[in-house]
């Protein structure tokens, strides 16, 4: 459909990357519209086409100054409506070129007729024709481009979204209005449906850092309307929740229940604890220890402990006994033994480590289980992600929303490091993992000290694509995230943006009208930047087919923290449905709380055949009380001695 004509003047010329065209007043053109220019044939007779996206629009008349309009209407705006002739008005648009055909020689856009882009035009303009060929499709639908009644699917290239050519995705937008989480949920569905077979398997791992948004991914949405369903159908994605979802969360500080909003019993079947012991955590001690804590000497001692003490039998001449340090409790015993014996022998240093350093390191390390209570256990019981057994198209959600910052950092550091190591060794179970992190400005800020987490994110951003480790990161303010992290994201999505954020230099390449549109985007709309797209384009995506956080909390309200007995009952009943509350009460009567929790955790970790027997066996033998027997009366002394004052 032809809608306009290219124009150029000396003051406003066309270039190879920018052109101008005018349209009728009622032409269906606006910011983000994709158009096609048909120019005169090139010298060799080949038709010349230029595809562009509208970035700015102007409207003006032959008025030299608004005052003339006032004069003409005698100062009364109503009079202007009574004028028999409208002033000539022009609608002039500026578009940025998306693609030239032929692409060489690259010349200014020629004069020609402007047409609205059809479906086929959109595919050519966005270079999607290169990765949508039959037999070699690597397209992942991101949404639809709309122009009037026309909707054209827009695809991202999996090779540039999930590697190896490029990877990682960054999504920005104001909280609550920009639909960042919805966009990621939708995109994960799309990836799971369209991930090319030849690229192998893919799973997702999401960190739920706030609220219940990611807590109901396996529950169906109830608010999908016909328009959304039509979009799903048009894009070839089933409008269904994720089929294979597992939730992980540390315990609360008390340890009775998991620190997650997905605590309703109806949904407990796929919620598992996440707890680590010494062996899992020591490697990442520096995540929790700052530069003041870990100087070179302390660092050396920690290394020594990690390599020579933990998880092996350790003996030394000054120690009272051999130590096999498997847990923080064991480590505390070891430290006590070392320090006590150093004191007794009046030693200032042991194995080159000064006593002050040893005390400091003891304090810092044993404090970890206190600082990360609920996540880090003293007794060494662990519940972890299914390393080595990740499943294709599964979603693993780690709920850290209720955890302290220290615990969040530790979880993040260890999980991502483990993902990286296992992907390097190809032992994870899947070939690709998409890691979704919200609040990226907290984990990889552009300023502030260089933290372990930030260094790790930089490493993933710069090298992860070769391993199949893909970062999907969201934040409200992109300008506050480390430049190299966002810069290495091959694809960027923008929802509704904050005006102050749009005024930062990072958005200067966008036309003013595009920035204005970004500030007013509706929910469900995104601006997409992708390596194949010469210019960003606006798309619309459907509501996610999963239950939202707010609705999920209404339907499946979080349970209040249970009593110890109820907590143990629930945990054991998941392994053996015959476990009752009464049985548990009897089994744990008079047992210390710590022992009960330890027994529960061990039973859950081991998953024995005979749950009840195993659970009871975890408690120390108690000697049954016996009534005291009466003692025989003392016999009188035999004879009294004579004058011997001692009676002999």
């Amino acid at each position: 459909m032809s809608i306009g004509r290219v124009v150029a003047t000396e003051r406003r010329p066309n270039t190879a990357s920018e052109f101008h065209f005018w349209t009728a007043l009622d032409a269906p053109v606006g910011i983000g519209t994709i158009v096609r220019v048909e120019g005169p044939p090139a010298g060799d007779g080949q038709a010349v086409s230029v595809y562009g996206v509208v970035v700015e629009g102007f409207s003006y008349t032959d008025l030299q100054t608004p005052l003339h309009d006032v004069i003409g209407a005698d100062g009364d705006p109503a009079n202007a409506l009574r004028a028999p002739t409208d002033r000539t008005e022009i609608r002039l648009y500026t578009a940025h070129a998306l693609r030239h055909i032929p692409d060489e020689p690259l010349q200014p856009v020629p004069m020609g007729i402007v047409h609205l882009a059809t479906d086929a035009d959109v595919a050519v303009a966005l270079r999607m024709d290169g990765y949508l060929k039959e037999g070699q499709r690597t397209g992942i639908p991101i949404g639809v481009y709309r122009s009037g009644a026309m909707q054209s699917p827009v695809y991202l290239d999996a090779d540039f979204l999930l590697g190896p050519e490029a990877a990682h995705l960054n999504i920005s937008g104001v909280s609550g209005l920009a639909t960042k989480t919805s966009a990621v949920e939708w995109l994960l569905s799309s990836i799971f449906s369209h991930f090319p077979e030849q690229k192998g398997s893919v799973a997702a791992l999401c960190f739920n850092v706030k609220g219940p948004d990611l807590c109901f991914l396996d529950q169906p949405a109830t608010k999908l309307d016909e328009a959304d369903k039509a979009l799903y159908e048009a894009l070839g994605v089933p409008a269904e929740p994720f089929r294979d979802v597992e939730y992980f969360a540390p315990y609360t500080a008390r340890g009775y229940s998991l620190a997650t909003l997905r605590s309703n019993e109806a949904l407990a079947h796929n919620v598992r604890p996440l707890t680590w012991g010494l062996g899992e955590v020591l490697q990442y001690a520096e995540v929790l220890l700052n530069k003041d804590d870990v100087d070179a000497k302390a660092d050396a001692l920690i290394d020594f402990i990690r390599e020579r003490v933990v998880q092996q039998e350790f003996t030394d001449s000054i120690l009272e006994r051999a130590h096999k340090v498997l847990s923080f409790s064991d480590l505390e015993q070891w430290f006590r033994d070392v320090l006590r014996n150093m004191e007794q022998r009046n030693l200032e240093s042991w194995r080159t480590h000064h006593v002050a350093t040893i005390r400091k390191v003891r304090n810092r390390l044993t404090n970890i289980s206190t600082r990360c209570r609920g996540l880090v256990t003293d007794d060494g019981t662990t519940h972890d992600l299914p390393w080595g057994a990740f499943r294709d198209r599964a979603v693993y959600v780690i709920d850290v929303a209720a955890s302290e910052d220290d615990a969040q950092d530790l979880i993040f550091a260890r999980v991502v490091s483990q993902l990286r190591e296992q992907l390097e060794r190809r032992t994870l179970g899947v070939d690709h993992v998409v890691v979704f992190v919200d609040e990226l400005n907290k984990y990889a800020p552009s300023d502030g000290p260089d933290t372990y987490v930030r260094k790790m994110l930089l490493d993933i951003a710069e090298r992860g694509r070769y391993l199949g480790l893909v970062l999907f990161a969201a934040q409200q303010f992109r300008s506050q995230v480390h430049r190299r992290v966002v810069g290495n994201c091959g694809t960027a999505l923008f929802g509704r943006m904050d005006m102050d954020e749009l005024a930062t230099p990072g958005y200067a390449t966008l036309a003013p009208a595009t920035r204005t549109k970004l500030a007013t985007l509706d929910k469900g709309q995104l601006m997409v930047r992708h390596p194949h797209f010469a210019q960003p384009v606006f798309v619309r995506f459907p509501r996610p087919a999963v239950m939202g956080g707010r609705e999920g909390m209404e339907r499946y309200p979080a349970e209040p923290e249970p009593t110890l007995e109820v907590s143990v009952t629930r945990t054991l009943r998941a392994l053996d449905p015959s476990v009752t509350l009464e049985w548990v009460k009897q089994a744990i009567v008079a047992a210390p709380e710590d022992d009960v929790l330890r027994a529960r955790n061990r039973t859950l970790q081991t998953r024995p055949e005979d749950v009840k027997a195993f659970f009871k066996a975890q408690f120390r033998q108690r000697v049954a009380a016996e009534p005291a027997r009466s003692r025989p009366a003392p016999l009188p002394l035999a004879g009294q001695g004579g004058d011997d004052p001692y009676g002999f």
């Binding site: 032959d62 008025l63 030299q64 003339h68 309009d69 004069i71 003409g72 209407a73 009079n79 202007a80 009574r82 004028a83 028999p84 002739t85 409208d86 002033r87 000539t88």
Partner: protein, 317 residues
């Protein structure tokens, strides 16, 4: 213009460089004059408020433009002028103006040359490559020159002007024969052929070198307030059809030149009753908005005419 330049090269003329259009040069104007006119109907020549509110009634606008440039000088100082003339009728459709018919938009370009001054051979060479018009075809019989170059230039300008008027007349006659509704003609209609007798044509004259008043009626005309008109009178001359005419003040002069905002209206003599004069005046008063600024003639220029002129400039560039 390229075609004209090729024809000149072929004829051996030397091209002029960067001369402005003749229309922008100061021209020796005819001296202004007062001419008494007979009022139509009984009663003295008077001023009166137009009866009724402004009302939209104009269905189309007609205007023409011209541009004359000296392209070259023939030996002897003979100017070779490229004249561009155009005329069109723009029809009102809703609140926009659109083209009426292809034949109602006419554009012509030609070389205006004094044939007698350059000779038949040169004339033939020019005519072989481009349309040529003789600017001395109305010269006095036996006038064989020499001619003052400024006279030749003035003749060329006059010839271009006459050509424009012919195009305007043709467009006006076409509308009056086949159009539908009143036609606003920029300028008088007395020399517009059949249009001068048509009830559809309304001529609006903005310039007042000739004022159709005498000593007694001049103050009355100059004192017209916005929305007032004079009694209608007859305007006649040997070479023009007689028409009914009156003065109408579109806008108050408010301290400006007393002729500012004043127009002279011409309609066919038949049917020029006071009621019709009021009706036509109401139509013209309605065309005061929007204003034709930044055109310097905005006080008396209807926006529809400004749009028509802009259209002609756009298609003749």
């Amino acid at each position: 213009m390229r075609g004209a330049l090729r024809a000149l090269r072929a004829a051996g003329a030397a091209a002029a460089t960067g001369e402005p259009a003749l229309e922008t040069r100061p021209v020796a104007a005819e001296p202004p004059r007062l001419q008494r006119a007979e009022p139509i109907g009984a009663g003295p020549f008077s001023a009166r408020l137009v009866d009724g509110e402004p009302a939209v009634g104009i269905a189309a606008f007609l205007d023409g433009i011209q541009e004359s440039r000296v392209l070259a000088h023939w030996p002897g100082g003979v100017p070779i002028v490229l004249g561009t003339v155009a005329a069109t009728v723009r029809r009102r459709e809703g609140r926009a103006l659109v083209s009426w018919r292809p034949e109602a938009t006419r554009v012509e370009r030609a070389l205006f040359v004094p044939k007698a001054a350059i000779g038949d051979a040169a004339w033939a060479l020019l005519a072989d490559g481009y349309p040529v018009r003789d600017t001395l075809d109305t010269a006095k019989a036996g006038d064989t020159g020499p001619w003052h170059p400024m006279d030749l230039t003035a003749s060329a300008l006059t010839a271009v002007q006459r050509r424009r008027e012919l195009l305007e007349t043709a467009c006006a006659e076409l509308w009056c024969a086949e159009g539908d509704g009143p036609l606003f003609v920029d300028g008088g209609i007395a020399s517009a052929g059949a249009a001068a007798h048509s009830p559809l044509a309304i001529g609006v004259v903005k310039s007042h070198r000739t004022l159709y008043v005498d000593g007694d009626t001049l103050p009355l005309v100059l004192a017209l307030a916005a929305g007032e008109r004079t009694t209608a009178f007859t305007v006649a001359s040997p070479r023009r059809a007689p028409v009914a005419s009156w003065y109408l003040r579109l806008r108050a002069s408010d301290g400006r030149d007393p002729l500012w905002g004043l127009v002279r209206v011409e309609v066919a003599l038949d049917g020029a009753t006071p009621e019709r004069c009021d009706l036509v005046s109401r139509w013209l008063l309605a065309e005061r908005a929007p204003v034709s600024l930044p055109d310097a003639r905005w006080g008396a220029m209807a926006y529809g005419i400004r749009l028509t002129e802009e259209y002609l400039r756009a298609i003749t560039r």
